[in-house]
C-alpha cells in the first residue's frame, strides 16, 4: 500500500549548515497493517513521517501510496500529531474541530453532523462536542485529534508520537483505543514512537531506525497473538524477548551506519 524507497532528506542543502537528517530509508507497509517506527532520539523519525505525509519534500527517493507518488498530503491519509494542544484549533469547539476538515470533501450537513457524532462516540467522547479542547484533559484532547483524523475517513493513519504527552494510564487506554479503532475501521496505521514497549505491544511490524543520518537498521516481525492485552500480552515470554531484541538493536545497531559524505 505504502512504499518508501531510498528516502533521503537533507535540511538546508547546499548551505554550510546542511544537515542530513535522513540518509537512506526503505520500507513498505501493506494494507491493514500496523507498523511502528522506532529509533534513538534525534534519529529523524518525525522527518520520515513528514515526508510520508507529503508535508516535507524529500531530497531524494520516493514515497508511493497506492501507486501514486506522494508530493502533497494525499486525500486518503490523515495525521495525528504529538502535541494535541497545538494541533487542535482552540477557537473551535470539539465538534467544529472534527468537522472542519470534512466540509471540503463531503457536502450534506445532516450526514456531516451524524458522522461527527458517531466518530466522537467511537473514541469515547460522547457529550463533549460543544466544549472547547482546552476545557478537556490531555488524554481527551488527543482523543479529539484521533476522532478528527478518523472522521476524515482515511485509508491510512499516520501518528507522530501520539501518546508522548499523556500520563501512563491514559497512554495505555489510548493504545488500546488505537488497536480497537484500527480493527473496526480497517485502516492501515503507521505510528512513530520512542517507546519500545509501546512499539512491540501495538505493532505487526517494527521498523528500527539507526542514529542520524538515518537508515533502516532492521525490520522486526512481531507476530504476537491478537487481540493484544495490556497485561496478558506483556506477560508473554515472546513479548519480553522482542522487547529486549528491539532495545538492543536501538542501543547498539548491528550494522554501523554508513559514513556520511
Amino acid at each position: 500500500m505504502l512504499y518508501v524507497e531510498n528516502l533521503r532528506k537533507i535540511y538546508g542543502e547546499g548551505t554550510r549548515t546542511a544537515f542530513e537528517a535522513v540518509g537512506d530509508v526503505t520500507f513498505e507497509v501493506t494494507e491493514r497493517e500496523l507498523v511502528t517506527i522506532v529509533g534513538p532520539s534525534g534519529a529523524g523519525k518525525t522527518t520520515v513521517l513528514k515526508c510520508l505525509a507529503g508535508l516535507l519534500p524529500p531530497t531524494s527517493g520516493t514515497v508511493v501510496l497506492d501507486g501514486e507518488p506522494v508530493e502533497e498530503p494525499p486525500e486518503k491519509m490523515a495525521l495525528v500529531f504529538q502535541d494535541y494542544s497545538r494541533s487542535l484549533y482552540p477557537w473551535m469547539t470539539v465538534e467544529q474541530n472534527v468537522e472542519f476538515p470534512l466540509r471540503h470533501r463531503r457536502p450534506g450537513t445532516r450526514e456531516l453532523a451524524t458522522l461527527v457524532d458517531e466518530t466522537l462516540t467511537s473514541v469515547g467522547l460522547d457529550g463533549v462536542g460543544k466544549k472547547y479542547p482546552w476545557q478537556l484533559s490531555g488524554g481527551m484532547q488527543q482523543r479529539v485529534a484521533i476522532a478528527r483524523a478518523l472522521a476524515y475517513q482515511p485509508e491510512i493513519l499516520l501518528m507522530d508520537e501520539p501518546f508522548a504527552s499523556v500520563d501512563a494510564q491514559t497512554r495505555a487506554d489510548l493504545e488500546d483505543l488505537v488497536l480497537e479503532l484500527r480493527t473496526r475501521y480497517g485502516i492501515t496505521v503507521v505510528l512513530v514512537t520512542h517507546d519500545i514497549d509501546e512499539a512491540v505491544y501495538l505493532s505487526d511490524r517494527v521498523v528500527i531506525l539507526s542514529p542520524s543520518p538515518t537508515t533502516v537498521a532492521e525490520i522486526v516481525d512481531v507476530g504476537l497473538p491478537d487481540p493484544r492485552d495490556q497485561v496478558a500480552t506483556k506477560e508473554l515470554p515472546e513479548f519480553a524477548h522482542l522487547r529486549g531484541y528491539v532495545w538492543r538493536s536501538i542501543k547498539r545497531p548491528e550494522a554501523p551506519s554508513p559514513t556520511s559524505p
Binding site: 505525509a53 507529503g54 508535508l55 495525521l79 494542544s85 484549533y89 472542519f100 476538515p101 476524515y152
Partner: protein
C-alpha cells in the same frame, strides 16, 4: 485558574464605582465656592454639560466627530488586517516592507495635519484620512507579527487535511493572529480619539475639538471644561465597548491560556 466568587466580584465592582464617585464628590466640594475664572465650580460644569451635550449639540458636533472617528478607524483596521495578512504570510514581503513601515509609522501624527489640509482640504475627508493613517500602523504591525507567529503545527495540520489556502487564511491564520490584532486595534482606538480632536482644532467648523477650542477663545471656560469632560467620557466608553467585544471574540484565547497555565 480560580473563578472570582460572587462576593469578590461585587467588591471589585463596588470599588470601581466608589473611587470615581469619591473623586467627583471631592472635586465638587473643593470647587463649590470657587470664583476663579479658570476653574468654575463642578456644579456649573455639570449644568453646562447637561445644557450643551444633552442633546443640544449632539447633532452638530458629536455626530460629525464620531462618524469621522469610526470611518477613519474602520478603514484603518480593515486595510491593516488585509495587508498585514498578506505581508505576514511571506518572509520576503515582510523584510522588504519593514523599513518603509517603520519609517512611516515614526511620523508624529499631528505633523501630518498641515500637509493633509494642503492636499485634501479642510473637509471631513481629510480628517478621516488622517485618523485612518495613524490608526493603520499599530494594527498593521501587530497583524504581521501575529500572522508570522502562527504555530507551525497549526499550519501543518491544516495542510495535512488539505484545507484550501483561502480557508486556511480565514479560519486558521486570522483567528490565530486575532489576539495580537486586537491588541493593536486597542492602541489605535485611543490614537484615533486624539487625532480626531487634533484634526478638529485646525481649520474646522464643527466637532467636539472645534467646540472646545472655540469655547476657550470666547472665554466660555465652563463650556470648555464640559467639552473636555465629554471627551474623557467618550474615551472611557469606547474603551469599555472595545473590551466587551474583545472579551466575546477572544473568549477561547483567555480560556486556552488559563487551561495551559
Amino acid at each position: 485558574m480560580t473563578a472570582p466568587t460572587r462576593s469578590a466580584r461585587a467588591t471589585g465592582l463596588g470599588l470601581e464605582i466608589t473611587v470615581p464617585v469619591a473623586v467627583l464628590v471631592l472635586w465638587g466640594l473643593a470647587s463649590a465656592d470657587s470664583d476663579s475664572f479658570y476653574f468654575p465650580p463642578l456644579v456649573d460644569i455639570v449644568r453646562a454639560f447637561g445644557d450643551i451635550w444633552l442633546f443640544d449639540r449632539v447633532g452638530s458636533d458629536v455626530v460629525p466627530s464620531l462618524s469621522r472617528l469610526f470611518a477613519g478607524y474602520s478603514l484603518a483596521v480593515v486595510a491593516a488586517v488585509v495587508i498585514g495578512l498578506a505581508l505576514g504570510s511571506s518572509d520576503t514581503a515582510r523584510k522588504m516592507c519593514d523599513p518603509v513601515v517603520q519609517f512611516l509609522r515614526a511620523i508624529p501624527p499631528p505633523v501630518l495635519l498641515p500637509a493633509g489640509i494642503l492636499v485634501l482640504g479642510v473637509g471631513s475627508g481629510m480628517k478621516v484620512a488622517l485618523i485612518a493613517f495613524v490608526c493603520f500602523w499599530p494594527v498593521l504591525l501587530n497583524t504581521i507579527d501575529g500572522v508570522a507567529g502562527v504555530d507551525p503545527t497549526l499550519r501543518e495540520t491544516a495542510r495535512s487535511f488539505r484545507i484550501p489556502p483561502g480557508e486556511r487564511l480565514r479560519r486558521i491564520v486570522l483567528p490565530s493572529a486575532a489576539p495580537q490584532i486586537f491588541a493593536g486595534a486597542r492602541v489605535s482606538l485611543s490614537i484615533a480619539v486624539i487625532m480626531m480632536v487634533v484634526s478638529e482644532m485646525v481649520a474646522s467648523t464643527d466637532g467636539i475639538g472645534y467646540f472646545v477650542l472655540q469655547s476657550q477663545r470666547t472665554y466660555a471656560i465652563t463650556d470648555m471644561w464640559s467639552g473636555i469632560f465629554l471627551l474623557a467620557l467618550l474615551g472611557y466608553v469606547l474603551n469599555a465597548l472595545f473590551l466587551l467585544v474583545e472579551r466575546r471574540v477572544l473568549r477561547w484565547h483567555r480560556g486556552a491560556r488559563a487551561g495551559s497555565a
